[in-house]
């Protein structure tokens, strides 16, 4: 009879084999352990849990829709404000000409900053999704 280590006994039992060894007592205890562990009952789920979660998910959907609507209204107001401002500036172009000539050289800098901010938020969002939410483990 061969002497088997704990690792070897466990590996054989994992594959469904009953190992033959010089320590039948150890093998028997491990066998009983494997059998008992596999027979442990799963946790009890409270009654109505699925309904509760479904109701919560439904509320989440409504909240999300509400958030989109709020965002749409906000954007609409923003566009109206910006449009009014542009119209005002165009109407009084000559009066603001001096001001425009002052900020014109900085327009590419502002544009670059805006693009970098958008790219950063997008990348951060993507990374978060990959790391925590979707099934990309690497």
């Amino acid at each position: 009879m061969k002497h088997l280590t704990d690792e070897e006994i466990q590996a054989l039992l994992e594959n469904g084999n009953i190992p033959e060894s010089s320590q039948p007592a150890d093998v028997e205890t491990y066998r009983l352990l494997f059998e008992s562990l596999s027979a442990l009952p799963p946790a009890e789920v409270p009654a109505g849990f699925a309904d509760q979660v479904t109701a919560e998910a439904r509320q989440y959907t409504f909240r999300k829709k509400g958030q989109w609507q709020a965002a749409f209204v906000f954007l609409l107001v923003l566009v109206i404000c910006i449009g009014s401002l542009v119209a005002l500036l165009l109407a009084y172009k000559n009066e603001f000409q001096h001001f425009f000539s002052g900020i014109t050289p900085y327009v590419p800098v502002f544009a670059a900053m805006a693009v970098i901010t958008v790219v950063f938020y997008y990348a951060d969002h993507k990374w978060f999704l990959r790391r925590y939410i979707t099934n990309h483990y690497s």
């Binding site: 205890t29 352990l33 789920v45 919560e56 998910a57 989440y60 939410i133």
Partner: protein
Amino acid sequence: MSEEQQLVEQVLRGDMQAFRQLVKNYEKLVWTVAARLIEQKEEREDLCQEVFIKVYRGLPGFAFESKLSTWIARITYLTAINHLRKDKYKTVSHNQLEDLVLSPAAQDNPGETMEKKSLQAYLNQLIDQMPPAYKTVITLFHLQQCAYDEIVAITGMPAGTVKVYLLRARKLLKEKLETFLKNEQP
């Protein structure tokens, strides 16, 4: 298209009954994993709800690169671990398995403390005293019949670590079981 994919498609189309069915299919898995890591019943219930809301939110990004059960179990594990991190005082480090051998609760004569309880109840108690990582690998392997690669995917631990944790946890349980059986014998 598998039944699982069809169910996901239905959920993505906004069918809440399909989502309810999805919850029904995986609630035992989520509760079994969460029950090992979160002791308080109310906290556990909140956590399980949170897991399924994360599943609902994350489903559009799920690309079936793994089994749905593996993905849901991973969300459960990460959510529970984050919860434990927030309650740091409840967290036990991965190196404290050996403390179980010396802890007063574990040193009690099992024959006396577990006189009226079954072997399964005794094993459950021992597993509950283990550090979170050990509890998780034992639960996933034996209770959920997960393969090694699935446990690696769920926990994010290296394959070698999973094997070592399983080996050490079983060895300890076997030693405890021996004492239990000796005390059970007349």
